[in-house]
């Protein structure tokens, strides 16, 4: 049995970030203000219609849908870390599971809103539920994203039950209603053997369930594209291509979150250099798999250069999108793989810088998947103004696209102020086992 003082130290260390501080006020104030600016831009779009964006008849899925794909992608990390690594008994990942789950929940919950931003008439979202066809990948996507949000919320909540009990007991300074909420959420947790068994079993079931659901959410998102015969989307590997790409952006997001949590919450003892090292290796692994899919996705049609594919691929390789394309592939994928092969690069700071590059690359990769295809239809674009032919996002569109990011940051910030982001109970158990 571990001594009580060590136990207390873990508890107090991990509970310290909880509670409202001045920094929280400033940070949230900043986020709220930024969100207000973005919402103003959105109100403008709502009033004038999508004409205020760069979207026109040909490119009708621009920055917004790229954003949506990015959000769904990033949310997949919850499944990789808490389910895949958890089920395969990877011990080092368990302190990161909650961070991954928070990121997953925040990104998945906001993804639905991102779709709405692409609608000139957002109230028509109801039409999906009223007139949706089961045959349409859009209906599957709505279903599966909702299910994923539900499961992610449960996977975040259930392991938190013992920690809520600790929060209720230890956080004596917080207002009474808040403490009562902790009590309510702790479901009379006493840590009895029966309760323990039920909790472990529930987490186990959900961890298994979330794997196919997470695969489905991004596979179905890829089918929104791959179920058409358009150049660049007409691909049989789009499902795995999207899923592996999702792990890349999600891993990068977790690394960035780890860095900020570690520094601002003083969690150096809990998110150690070992965790960064392991996450770095994980990022190399998932990036290599993604690189392999990229090779297939571009090399195979590039070798054949079929008439319509050729127009599209030329725009990517040497044309209008060449700079973006090669930056994404080299700076966002190949260089990070090479750098992270070196142990020195897998230290917190350099790796966070690399993760930022990867995450940015991941966002622009979605843009490259969505937009250029729409500029290359099979039937020639005729008799339309110049701005119909090539898509350039407007400032308003950019602001509206920023809003979901701000929302995600807000959700993450609030969640990490009300729940311990490193599982307390699990960490204590872990220490006891390793003794």
């Amino acid at each position: 049995m571990m001594d009580q003082s060590k136990k207390n130290k873990i508890t107090s260390d991990l509970l310290k970030p909880i509670g409202i501080t001045k920094t929280f006020h400033i940070w949230m104030g900043f986020l709220t203000l930024s969100l207000a600016v973005c919402l103003y831009a959105y109100m403008f779009q709502l009033d004038k219609g999508l004409v205020v964006t760069g979207l026109r008849d040909y490119v009708s899925w621009g920055m917004y849908i790229s954003n949506f794909v990015f959000f769904v992608a990033t949310s997949l990390i919850g499944m990789l870390i808490s389910a895949v690594l958890g089920l395969s008994g990877v011990k080092w990942a368990s302190p990161l599971a909650r961070i991954a789950e928070i990121i997953a929940l925040a990104f998945a919950a906001v993804a639905g809103l991102v779709i709405v931003s692409d609608m000139g008439h957002p109230e028509r979202l109801l039409n999906v539920f009223m007139y949706g066809r089961l045959q349409s990948p859009i209906v599957w996507d709505v279903t599966v994203v909702t299910v994923y949000v539900l499961i992610s919320a449960l996977l975040l909540y259930i392991p938190l039950i013992p920690d809520f009990k600790i929060c209720h007991e230890k956080l004596v300074d917080i207002p009474k209603p808040l403490r009562n909420i902790y009590k309510l959420l702790s479901l009379n947790w006493k840590g009895t053997e029966d309760q323990e068994k039920l909790l472990k079993k529930s987490v186990w079931i959900l961890s298994i369930l979330i794997i196919p659901v997470a695969l489905a959410i991004h596979t179905v998102t890829s089918w929104l594209f791959a179920s058409t015969s358009r150049v660049g989307w007409d691909s049989t590997i789009f499902g795995p291509y999207f899923v592996t790409g999702a792990f890349v952006s999600g891993t990068a997001a977790v690394i960035i979150a780890m860095f900020f949590y570690r520094n601002s919450y003083k969690l150096q003892d809990y998110i150690t250099e070992l965790h960064f090292d392991k996450m770095g290796k994980l990022l190399v692994l998932v990036s290599l798999v993604y690189l392999y899919f990229n090779l297939n996705e571009f090399m195979v049609p590039g070798y054949k250069m079929k008439k319509f594919d050729a127009t599209h691929l030329h725009a990517l390789f040497a044309g209008r999108y060449a700079i973006m394309f090669w930056l994404v592939q080299i700076v966002g994928l190949i260089l990070p793989i090479l750098f992270l092969l070196f142990g020195k690069m897998r230290k917190p700071l350099p790796m966070t810088v690399i993760a930022v590059a990867v995450l940015l690359g991941a966002w622009f990769k979605r843009y490259i998947i969505v937009v250029p295809t729409m500029e290359h239809p099979y039937l020639p674009i005729q008799n339309v103004p110049m701005n119909f032919k090539f898509y350039t996002p407007t400032l308003i569109e950019t602001f509206v696209s920023l809003a979901p990011f701000i929302l995600v940051l807000m959700i993450i910030t609030i969640l990490s102020k009300v729940v311990p982001i490193i599982p307390i109970q699990e960490t204590i158990e872990h220490h006891e086992e390793s003794k």
Partner: protein
């Protein structure tokens, strides 16, 4: 070797020739066509109706008359029809251009009726303040006297078209009238054979193809279009049992991916519902576990 060189040269010359022909600015309109006038008196109403036709068929290339927003990327450039050069043409010339088309400009002879074509010209003329119309002496009411008769020989698949006019003074056979035969198809009219002219007894004989799919009993909608100097343009639509009986079920009759929700394929309904029910069941199980945990902790 030499032979193929000659062939190439001829092809080359032909290409240049046809290219220069497209590029030629002036229209070579026969004198009789040039002198043709509209039997419709142009006024505000006809111009207004013409505008609707213009917006549908012409504006995408020619732009709005007088606004110089015509599509300048085409070769030859479709002129702004409000400009002086176009307005200097006679009504007959405009009508001819509209009828024949050239290069990228399609012929509107078979897509717009004569009345519609004249109304379009009326709209174009409304941009010319100096324009004074010369109305044709053709009596539009005369076209109402014309009767078109179809005689189908089902053995040889030939259709004889006879055109007569029931004048008060007696029956007149329409000689040397232009006859076009069309069959209505999904996306427009399919012309059968070439444009023919009636013989001395006002008849023409069309060879009808034997393989045109008709409806379930083989009926086809045959459109006869008559163009006569005196009687004007007359059109008649006839249902004739001359096609191949075809009974294609509608593509939206059976369960299919592309059909409405009610007619979704069973495999999709079963897969989707069972997955949803399965996941829902598991989630309920989890919720039940949470209640159990709560119950176990009660004092």
């Amino acid at each position: 070797m030499l032979k193929s060189n000659i062939k190439l040269t001829i092809l080359f010359l032909l290409a240049i020739f046809s290219f220069s022909k497209i590029n030629a600015q002036a229209w070579d309109v026969p004198a009789d066509k040039k002198a043709k006038n509209s039997y419709i008196k142009f006024d505000e109403n006809t111009a207004k109706e013409g505008e609707a036709i213009y917006t549908k068929n012409c504006v995408s290339c020619h732009g709005n008359p007088g606004k110089a927003n015509n599509l300048k990327t085409l070769n030859p450039i479709p002129p702004d029809l409000g400009a002086a050069k176009t307005q200097a043409l006679t009504d007959g010339e405009l009508f001819y251009i509209l009828n024949t088309g050239r290069g990228a400009m399609p012929s509107f002879k078979n897509t717009l009726s004569e009345e519609e074509r004249w109304k379009t010209i009326s709209y174009i003329r409304s941009f010319n303040k100096q324009y004074v119309q010369v109305v044709s002496k053709t009596d539009p009411t005369k076209s109402k006297l014309v009767k078109i008769k179809l005689d189908v020989d089902s053995l040889t698949n030939k259709i004889k078209v006879a055109v007569i006019a029931n004048e008060i003074k007696g029956v007149v056979l329409l000689k040397d009238a232009e006859i076009n035969m069309f069959v209505s198809r999904y996306f427009g009219k399919l012309q059968i054979g070439k444009t023919l002219r009636t013989d001395s007894v006002g008849c023409v004989l069309f060879d009808f193809p034997k393989n045109l799919p008709g409806d379930s009993i083989g009926n086809l909608e045959i459109v006869i279009n008559v163009n006569d100097e005196i009687y004007g343009e007359i059109e008649s639509i006839n249902k004739v049992k001359i096609g191949v009986p075809t009974n294609k079920p509608s593509l939206t009759e059976k369960r299919a991916i592309w059909n409405v929700l009610k007619l979704a394929p069973w495999w999709i309904i079963i897969t989707y519902t069972s997955i949803l029910l399965g996941v829902g069941f598991i989630l309920l199980l989890i919720i039940k576990n949470l209640f159990k945990i709560r119950k176990l902790g009660e004092d």
